[in-house]
Symmetry: C2
Subunit: 214 residues, 2 copies
């Protein structure tokens, strides 16, 4: 499948991840088809939004029937480039890094964690979830050996930029940053920030508004 | 401070969390004032967007000077209702739940984790980060005793709805769901989904596009 447009809004990509999540849970429940109305309702968006989002990737859905669950999952995954294995490394083996290394969903979704890096001499050599923790300074050397395509940063904020530099030097073009710090990368490197706190802030804010309006 | 409008877009709330993160790192570096241009550049948004976002919360910034860092942090936190302590509970004490219980940023940002719940008899009674793991069925009883305002769900996907039901029964009005599953709540309960995978998908998608366009 070729993409109709390379200028796909971030919000569409975010919703595609929700559609996949909902479609996969329908698949687990043994559903073969779903109407666009029910899919929209389960994803908490309106049906025209789903049609608009999917239109970036091709033509889906059968009038009077809806969407074929399996076909739609495969097509979305192919369109997003997540129908293959991505070799992924985690930099920063604290509590969060360990949780991600042990998280069963990564492998299920094609993100195979092949490297675990930390600069703490007490952690280097330790085996976490079957991987030996390697000194972050050796990231480029290991990347040349095993191939690393995506880097996940789970260091404290003050070490995030150094972790970024190691990943960039190793030729990694995609970074997910869990550390609560902004990082600088060259133009050809994509960064996504995972920030729990904007979700906590949003919940606190909405709860506050509801209390005030009671 | 009273809010100019209660209809503040989600995207604004998300960016407010980024502004706080950047302002706090400026504060750590000893900066007292920042120009709107530099703040915008560091947050990767344009200056007019920042002015528009802040206008929901009041009047900020001094012409020719910029923003006073400390004042702006306090004002944003007050406006978002995060200038106080929120009693928070974690349901699901697996790897991710443990990582969150040990995550130093929660307390720093006012989200005090006061309860740890799980339904696994092998985990009940265990002490994690100074908290005793309590049976999820006792959530309401404990909430009546200690007060729980925000619930964080870190169960496997198939147990997320049950965890939600316990939280809702206990009167919790704000939920952050880390489990990869949609959940149903009454209208007066706010839910935020934390989904790592849309970030992974976005990175994979952008890396794929860059490879293809080379």
């Amino acid at each position: 499948m070729t993409l109709k447009s390379q200028h796909i809004p971030r919000a569409t990509i975010q919703r595609m991840a929700v559609y996949i999540q909902v479609l996969e849970s329908l698949q687990r429940d043994g559903k073969d088809v779903i109407s666009s109305e029910l899919l929209a309702k389960t994803c908490s968006v309106n049906p025209s939004q789903i049609r608009k989002d999917l239109a970036y990737f091709g033509e889906f859905g059968v009038r009077g029937v809806g969407y074929y669950v399996q076909d739609l999952i495969s097509s979305i995954k192919q369109a997003l480039g997540v129908d293959r294995v991505w070799k992924t490394a985690v930099v920063g083996i604290g509590n969060l890094g360990r949780a991600l290394l042990n998280h069963r969903e990564f492998k299920l979704r094609g993100f195979h964690i092949v490297g675990a890096f930390d600069c703490d001499p007490f952690k280097i050599g330790e085996i976490v979830s079957g991987l030996e923790v390697i000194c972050s300074r050796r990231l480029k050397e290991k990347a040349d050996e095993i191939g690393i395509e995506i880097g996940i940063i789970t260091t404290p904020p003050e070490r995030a930029q150094r972790a970024t530099n190691y990943l960039v030097d190793a030729g990694v073009k995609g970074i997910i940053n869990f550390a609560p710090a902004r990082i600088n990368v060259p133009d050809d490197v994509t960064v996504e920030y995972v920030d729990f706190f904007h979700h906590l802030y949003a919940v606190a804010f909405n709860v506050t508004l509801n209390i005030e309006s009671e």
